[in-house]
C-alpha cells in the first residue's frame, strides 16, 4: 500500500476519506463551511449531487443506507434544522450501509446567521458524534465513521467547524481506495417502518445500541491522552479546540475526545484522577462539561463569556485562567458588499427608492441591508422571506402593508420558498402580496453551485431545468412576470408599483445572471 502525503483542507480530507471507504453517494445542500466536501468528492470521481434542500438530501442518503450502500450527507449547521425531521426518526431506524451526516458548525459566525452548537442535536436525537480536530483526523475519522456506522447500525453525526473545514494541513492518505460495495437488499419492516408498534421497540434498541457503543468507546483509539502521567492541570477538549489547547497549555495533560457521544465516562474519570485540576475547553455550548458533570465526574466548565465566538490560543489561555476580561474588539476590516455589476444592486436601489418594507432571505442579496441600499427589514432563515412577508401583510395597517415585498434568491426559492407561494395563494392577505425571485441563475453566496433551476448537475452535466415562472403560475399566483431589473429598470419600478397598488398575489422573477457565474460558465465553455 503506497501512502501519499499531501496538503488538504478538512473538507477535502473528508471527501478523500469517504472516497477511499467506497462511498456510494454524496448529497447535500451548499452551505459555508461544508460546501467543498461534495465538490471535491465529485472531482475524485464519486457520485456527488446537490439536493434541493438538506431535508431531501438527508432522505436520499437514508435511502442509500437502507439500500445497503454507504452515504454521506453534508450541510452547514443551520441546514441540520431543515433536515431535523428525518434525523430524529433515522436514529430509531438505524442503517444497513454506513451513513455519515456532516454538520459544519460556524462558531464566530464567519458566514452564518447564528452559532448553534449541533452536538446538542446528537444528544437530543441520540446519535453518535465524532469531532475531528484537523485534516488528518477528518480523513481518518471519515473512514472510521463508516465502520462504526455499519458495526452498530447507526448513522454518525460528523461535527466539523470552520477552523477544521477551512484549515489546511498535511494528510497521510494511507488507505487504498475501495470501489463502492452494496449489501444485498433486505426488506426489514420491523426496523425501517416507524409505525408506533415498531418505533417503541426501536427506541429501546437505540438506547441499548448506545450503551454498547459507549463500552466500545471506552477503549477506542478515537480518544487520546497526551502529556505527563500526573499534572497540575488536565484539559478535556475536542475538535478545533484541541489544537488551540495544545499550543496554549504545552505542559498540561490533555484528553482529546474524538467521539463525544456516547462519552467514554470511565476513561474520563480515570483521566481526572491524574490531575489536580481538570477543565473542559470547548467551542460553543458547555456540552461536554455538562454531560461529564451529569455523569458525576468533577470537572470545571468554561465561564459564560466563552460561550460566544470561536476559540483561539489567546482565548484558551484566558479560559483556563478563568480570566473574564473582554477582548479588545478587532479593528474593523472592509465589510462585504454586493459586487460592482451585481444584478441585485438595481433591485435594492429600486426597493429603497420606492420605500418598500422588505422581507429578506439568505444569500448574497442579504447584503441589500448594507449602505447605500439599507433596503432589508428582516432576515432569519432560508425561505422565510415569503412567510414573514405574508405575516407582515396580515398585521400592518393598510398603507404600510401595501409596501411589503418578499425577496428570495433562485436557489433559496427552490430550497424552501415554494411552500411560501402555496401559503400566499391559500391564505391571501387582504392587500395581496408581492414576491420577487432574484434569479441570478446560480447559488452565488456559497461559491457558484448549480441548483435545479440552472438545469445543470453539480458536475455541470445537463439535466431538467426547473422553470420558476411556470411553477409559480401553476401554484396559482395571479401574475407572474419575468424581467431584467438592471436592463429595464424604469419598467421594473413601474411593475412593482402596479403590483403593490393591487390586491393581487404576484411574483416577479428578476432574472439576470451573476457576473461571477458568467465568468465561470465562460471558463467552463473553454475547457
Amino acid at each position: 500500500m503506497s501512502a501519499e502525503k499531501i496538503i488538504l483542507s478538512g473538507d477535502e480530507a473528508v471527501a478523500r476519506g469517504v472516497f477511499a471507504a467506497g462511498v456510494r453517494l454524496g448529497t447535500g445542500y451548499p452551505g459555508t463551511p461544508s460546501t467543498e466536501i461534495l465538490e471535491h468528492l465529485s472531482e475524485l470521481g464519486s457520485k456527488a449531487q446537490w439536493a434541493p434542500n438538506e431535508k431531501v438530501a438527508m432522505e436520499v442518503a437514508i435511502g442509500v443506507a437502507f439500500g445497503g450502500g454507504r452515504a454521506i450527507v453534508t450541510m452547514k449547521h443551520v441546514g441540520l434544522n431543515v433536515a431535523a425531521d428525518p434525523l430524529f426518526t433515522l436514529a430509531y431506524t438505524g442503517v444497513e450501509g454506513g451513513m455519515i451526516i456532516v454538520s459544519a458548525d460556524d462558531p464566530g459566525m464567519a458566514s452564518s446567521q447564528n452559532e448553534q452548537d449541533n452536538r446538542l442535536y446528537g444528544e437530543a436525537a441520540h446519535l453518535p458524534i465524532m469531532e475531528p480536530s484537523d485534516s488528518q483526523e477528518a480523513y481518518d475519522f471519515a473512514i472510521k465513521a463508516f465502520e462504526i456506522s455499519e458495526k452498530f447500525h447507526t448513522p454518525v453525526l460528523f461535527r466539523m467547524t470552520t477552523r477544521v473545514c477551512h484549515a489546511r494541513s498535511i494528510v497521510n492518505l494511507w488507505k487504498t481506495p475501495e470501489a463502492p460495495q452494496v449489501k444485498p437488499y433486505r426488506k426489514n419492516v420491523a426496523e425501517h417502518v416507524m409505525v408506533p408498534a415498531n418505533a417503541k421497540k426501536a427506541h429501546v434498541r437505540l438506547m441499548n445500541m448506545l450503551a454498547d457503543l459507549q463500552k466500545w468507546n471506552e477503549t477506542s483509539d478515537l480518544n487520546v491522552i497526551s502529556g505527563p502521567e500526573k499534572a497540575e492541570l488536565g484539559i478535556i477538549c475536542s475538535g478545533a479546540a484541541y489544537q488551540h489547547v495544545a499550543e496554549a497549555a504545552p505542559k498540561a495533560r490533555i484528553l482529546k475526545l474524538g467521539m463525544t457521544l456516547p462519552l467514554p465516562c470511565s476513561k474520563i474519570y480515570q483521566f481526572t484522577q491524574g490531575n489536580k485540576r481538570t477543565i473542559v475547553v470547548e467551542e460553543g455550548e458547555k456540552y461536554l462539561a455538562e454531560k461529564i458533570r451529569a455523569a458525576g465526574i468533577e470537572v470545571e466548565a468554561k465561564r459564560d463569556i466563552f460561550l460566544y465566538g470561536e476559540l483561539n490560543v489567546a482565548k484558551v489561555k484566558k479560559l483556563i485562567a478563568n480570566d473574564e476580561t473582554p477582548d479588545a474588539p478587532p479593528k474593523p476590516g472592509r465589510p462585504p458588499q454586493l459586487c460592482p455589476g451585481c444584478p441585485h444592486r438595481k433591485v435594492f436601489e429600486s426597493l429603497r427608492d420606492l420605500g418598500c418594507i422588505v422581507s429578506g432571505d439568505i444569500g448574497c442579496y442579504t447584503l441589500g441591508v448594507m449602505p447605500p441600499f439599507n433596503a432589508i427589514d428582516c432576515s432569519t432563515c432560508m425561505g422565510a422571506s415569503i412567510g414573514m412577508g405574508l405575516g407582515l401583510r396580515h398585521t400592518l395597517a393598510e398603507a404600510e402593508a401595501r409596501k411589503v415585498v418578499s425577496v428570495i434568491g433562485d436557489s433559496t426559492f427552490v430550497h424552501s420558498g415554494i411552500t411560501g407561494i402555496v401559503e400566499m395563494v391559500y391564505n391571501r392577505p387582504a392587500t395581496g402580496h408581492l414576491v420577487l425571485i432574484l434569479d441570478n441563475t446560480t447559488t452565488a453566496m456559497t461559491g457558484l453551485q448549480e441548483n435545479p433551476a440552472t438545469g445543470r448537475h453539480l458536475n455541470m452535466t445537463p439535466t431538467h431545468q426547473l422553470k420558476l415562472e411556470e411553477l409559480c403560475a401553476a401554484i396559482g399566483a395571479d401574475h407572474v412576470d419575468v424581467i431584467d431589473p438592471t436592463l429595464h429598470n424604469p419598467e421594473f419600478r413601474a411593475l412593482v408599483q402596479e403590483r403593490l397598488a393591487s390586491n393581487d398575489v404576484s411574483v416577479i422573477v428578476c432574472r439576470r445572471p451573476c457576473i461571477l457565474q458568467m465568468k465561470k460558465l465562460a471558463k467552463y465553455a473553454k475547457k
Binding site: S111, I170, A246, N312, A314
Partner: protein, 158 residues
C-alpha cells in the same frame, strides 16, 4: 530544526490572489519538510470584504490561526489592511506592502506572486522549489511571467 513556528499573515480584499499566494507558501513549506497549517475565512469575505489567510510552519504546528502579536511577516496586498492587522504582528515584524513594488507590478494581477518573491528574501527557500511550484500551479501561458516577477522581487537590490 528548532521548535520555532514561523507565522505569515496574508491580508487584502477578495479577488487579489491572497488565497492563491498563501496556498503556494503552504505547499512550499511542506516541500521544505516543515509541518504546516493554513487557515482562512471564506464565504461573505468573497464579496469585496477583507480576506486574510494565516500560514504557520515549523517542526510542529498546532493551532491553524496565528495568535495575536505573533505574526513574523505581514503580506498586505492592500495598504489599508495593514492597520487592521497590526495587532497580530510581532514587534519588528516584516511588512511587505504594495508600495515596495513598481507601479507596474503593484497594479498587476501578479502582485501576490511578487510579494512571495519578496518574502523569500527572508525565508530563503531554494528558488528552484518556487519555480517548480509556480510552474505546476499556473497555466503555461502565464507561468513564465509569474516566475519572472517572482525572481525580480526575490533578488536583493544592489
Amino acid at each position: 530544526m528548532d521548535d520555532k513556528v514561523t507565522n505569515v499573515l496574508f491580508a487584502g480584499i477578495g479577488g487579489q490572489g491572497i488565497i492563491k499566494a498563501s496556498d503556494l507558501l503552504t505547499e512550499a513549506a511542506f516541500r521544505m519538510g516543515f509541518d504546516v497549517k493554513k487557515s482562512e475565512l471564506h464565504g461573505m469575505s468573497q464579496r469585496g470584504g477583507s480576506v486574510s489567510s494565516d500560514v504557520r510552519f515549523g517542526k510542529k504546528v498546532f493551532s491553524p490561526m496565528i495568535p495575536r502579536g505573533e505574526a513574523d511577516y505581514l503580506v498586505a496586498v492592500t495598504e489599508d489592511q495593514i492597520e487592521v492587522c497590526e495587532e497580530y504582528l510581532k514587534p519588528g515584524a516584516v511588512i511587505i506592502r504594495p508600495s515596495d513594488f513598481s507601479e507596474d507590478v503593484a497594479n498587476s494581477k501578479m502582485l501576490n506572486i511578487a510579494m512571495l518573491g519578496r518574502l523569500n528574501r527572508y525565508l530563503k527557500f531554494p528558488e528552484d522549489l518556487w519555480v517548480d511550484l509556480i510552474r505546476q500551479s499556473f497555466k503555461a501561458e502565464i507561468a513564465e511571467s509569474n516566475i519572472a516577477v517572482f525572481r525580480a522581487a526575490a533578488e536583493k537590490e544592489a
